[in-house]
Amino acid sequence: MLAFAIRRLLSMIAVMFVVSVLTFLLLAAIPNGDPALRLAGRLATADQIHEIRVKYGFDKPIYVQYVRTMKNIFTGQAYSYTQGFNVTSEIKQGLPATVSLALGAGVLWLFASILVGTLAAIKAGKYTDRVLTVLAMMGVSFPPFFLGAVLIYFLGYKANIFPLGGYVKLTSNPAQWFTHLILPWVTLSVLFIGFYSRVLRSTILETQSQDYVRTAQAKGLSSRQVLIRHILRNSLIPIIALWGLDLAQVIGGGAILTESVYNLHGVGQLAADSIAKLDIIPILAVVLLTAFAVVLIAALTDIMYAFLDPRIRLT
């Protein structure tokens, strides 16, 4: 078990290393994206541009630049080129909004999808199931920025029920915090409810045909008891594992589109804004954060599985 954990850890580090190198190379390859030219400003002479290259280390070979950048990111000494803000503190600034979005939406989509998925499985093949299928499919077909635009238009501009975007700190005004987040939560959840309810439906159907369920039914337990004690309990394990992964993604800044359309100033929007400014440092930091969150949760999930189910070989 310990050996497995260590191996996972090592491969996790390797994956993050490659992810960071690739991002760095991709952004360095942008034509005319040389940050020195942008920093030097209007009518800068060749001398000045050279000075800036030296100052920021752009004259060094790319691997030296990479090492330096990574070192700065990990020691909290990385500053964005365009504005000079400390990237670590910028991410810290964005985290409350992102975490609020992730947790609220996470709870919403988990419970809603359990409800919808279970109902669809119970009614499998029936009319209700068909309707829920179409609804779930509709959910996964909405791009968040379109759904966001529609919700903002009808419930914000027209009905004036919700604010038009923005984030209010929980500590400064809990009621405002809540009203500002309702639409983003719904927007983000709609997608996941669609996915999860479908996954849960098929997992339940599969579990239903397992021997131990049949045994329980034969023992004369009520169908409700069987559903809750046996089927649901087992079917939820994969759902929760998925939930952990997706939550990790959102917290790592993966909800770029939702954050942008609602202007939440979270980590994802930081990444989107930085891409628009071609500012490599914050982009790199967010990519690393997301990759870290995902890889970590994935490893934890695997370990958890191994723990729960001794039949799984750890290789």
């Binding site: 005319n32 994206g33 209007r42 009518l43 504005q83």
Partner: protein, 566 residues
């Protein structure tokens, strides 16, 4: 990435107040009357003191550290928190372009040959942290702007002051062309050549004095102490900051004539949804809308009904144009360039930006000294273009069917303008296709001579009210291999010699040469070196809590020290 321009302050200009008849009508009359500069002093003396207002903007400042900040969003607060040796009068309209002494006892005096300026630092000044101000702080401030570097430092400091280039290149430990004496407060500055706009350079907020010993790097989270009616506090990157009144301003040595104390503290919030921002001011949730953001046309009806009398359109000195490469086919042919100028429908382009453009054909905008009064050489731009004539000109030029790449930024409405322009070029006989570049790398891309850009979007927002600031963009000496700003590679001996000569005349004597600038600008238009497609107007929108007696400054827009509650 400021909304307005990536560089420079859009500065100045006369507040032409409201513009065309349509605009007047749209404003419901209420916006028609402008707050003129003259009323300022009277209104400020009556203004209520105290309170806090909220300004909401769509774009964050590039940095509130004056040693780095170069966008309008930075210049606006920095102007009030970092006074330089020279500054501008706190007045609306052209009156605001007047240079007045700031921390210097009087406007710096130029020597007869225009190459040496002398000034004296006021006595008894203190920075916001209590440190006394010394004459040598000026030299330190200039060095810091070069070291960081401030975006304008190459052109305005290194290009003018003796020894500044050597200092920037680390070949000297100080700038040899600046001498200061802390005992007497005397400051002497030597220029490499006479430069008429040098006092304007000294008035840049980026040369607002900071204490010696301030770290030589951009401090966006914690900008250095300064001298001014306000102090910048509570910076949350890209989200908010606060301008707090300096309690000592107006007392003792800090009583500087012409620089009034503020009436209210100002909270600044950044939120990229400008529609929502505008609505929040209309609904009085926030108090001031950032004039540098555009108000979407879709909101104008609502603003005119709900915010009547609280909304006006202001003009500042900025010109939008398409550059045409005069060294490359097809625009090395004057007839081909004339075709563009003749056919371009400026009314159509204005509609792409919520009707915010004023049509025109001259490089120098209407509020600038030297803006020609003669009719446009290739048809009245307000009437929309003459497509038939343009087609004929393309035919005549022999450039019909020539491939043209139109370079374009991504952000609206610039992208939409260039989409229209591309389709227009195809209509008059070229084979045009649009090439979109990420906003951040657009100007370095078209500024790279090796790319041979044929035509595309360009704009200029004045750094200061002197035509030379515009003409730098068409002088052959400005053609650089990278970061070129003379995008069309205009090489014309007449423009070169004439603009150089006129550029040496000091800003406060511009009126004496206005007609010469006019004829030069008419010449540029006649040669069709650039295709001007309009001058931008900007929205001034406030909540009903605010007193309408504010100053709208020609360089910085909102003068926050003039804000007060009703």
């Amino acid at each position: 990435m400021t909304r307005l321009a990536r560089r420079a302050l859009p500065v100045v200009v006369t507040v032409l107040a409201v513009v065309s008849a349509t605009v007047l009508a749209a404003c419901g009359g209420g916006g028609g009357s402008n707050t003129s500069g003259g009323s300022t002093s009277a209104s400020t003396s009556q203004a209520k003191n105290g309170g806090t207002i909220t300004l909401i903007g769509g774009v964050a400042p590039d940095s509130l550290d004056p040693g780095f900040g170069y966008t309008t969003q930075a210049a606006e607060p920095d102007w009030l928190s970092y006074t330089g040796l020279v500054t501008y009068a706190h007045k609306s309209g052209t009156a605001g372009s007047e240079l007045i002494p700031g921390l210097a006892t009087a406007l710096p005096q130029a020597s007869a040959d225009g190459k040496t300026y002398t000034a004296t630092m006021r006595k008894g000044l203190k920075f916001s942290n209590g440190t006394p101000v010394k004459a040598s702080d000026f030299a330190y401030t200039v060095e810091r702007a070069l070291k960081i570097p401030w975006g304008g430092s190459g052109q305005f400091i290194a290009g003018n002051i003796v020894g500044a280039k050597a200092y920037a290149a680390k070949k000297a430990s100080s700038i040899s062309g600046i001498q200061t004496d802390d005992a007497t407060g005397k400051i002497t500055i030597h220029l490499t050549a006479p430069y008429g706009a040098f006092l304007n350079v000294l008035a840049f907020p980026s040369l607002g004095i900071v204490p010696s010993g301030t770290p030589m790097k951009n401090l966006p989270n914690n900008p250095p102490p300064g001298v001014g009616p306000y102090e910048i506090k509570n910076i949350v990157p890209n989200q908010s900051y606060k301008l707090v009144r300096n309690p000592n301003w107006g007392q003792g040595a800090l009583n500087i004539p012409g620089i009034p104390a503020g009436h209210v503290d100002v909270n600044v919030k950044i939120s990229s949804n400008v529609d929502a921002n505008a609505l929040s001011v209309v609904n009085n949730t926030n108090d001031v809308y950032d004039w540098a953001d555009t108000i979407p046309g879709s909101l104008l009806p609502q603003i005119n009904s709900q915010a009547k009398g609280r909304y006006q359109k202001k003009v500042m000195n900025s010109t939008y144009y398409v550059f045409m490469n005069t060294q490359e086919k097809p625009f090395n042919n004057q007839l081909a360039r004339q075709a563009v100028v003749t056919g371009l429908n400026q009314n159509a382009m204005s509609r792409l930006s919520s009707g915010s453009l004023i049509p025109g054909c001259y490089f120098l905008p209407p509020g600038m000294v030297g803006h020609p009064t003669a009719p446009c050489p290739y048809g009245d731009p307000a009437k929309g273009g003459d497509i038939a004539k343009a087609k004929q000109l393309v035919q005549q030029s022999g450039m019909k069917g020539q491939p043209v790449t139109v370079w374009s930024q991504q952000r609206a409405p610039r992208q939409q303008w260039m989409t229209y322009y591309t389709s227009f070029l195809n209509q008059i006989g070229f084979k045009a296709k649009q090439k979109l570049i990420a906003d951040a790398s657009y100007f370095p891309t078209i500024g790279n001579l090796k790319g041979h850009p044929q035509t595309g979007f360009a704009d200029w927002n004045q750094d200061f009210p002197n035509p030379i600031d515009f003409y730098l963009l068409v002088q052959s000496s400005s053609i650089l291999p990278t970061n070129n700003e003379n995008f069309g590679e205009v090489r014309d001996p007449q423009i070169d010699s004439q603009s150089k000569k006129l550029g040496e005349v000091p800003t406060n004597k511009l009126n004496t040469i206005a007609s010469q600038w006019q004829s030069l600008d008419e010449y540029l238009a006649k040669k069709a070196y650039i295709g001007v497609f309009g001058y931008q107007t900007f929205p001034a929108l406030i909540s009903n809590r605010m007193s309408p007696n504010y100053v709208f400054h020609p360089l910085y827009g909102w003068d926050w020290s003039s804000f007060s509650l009703k």
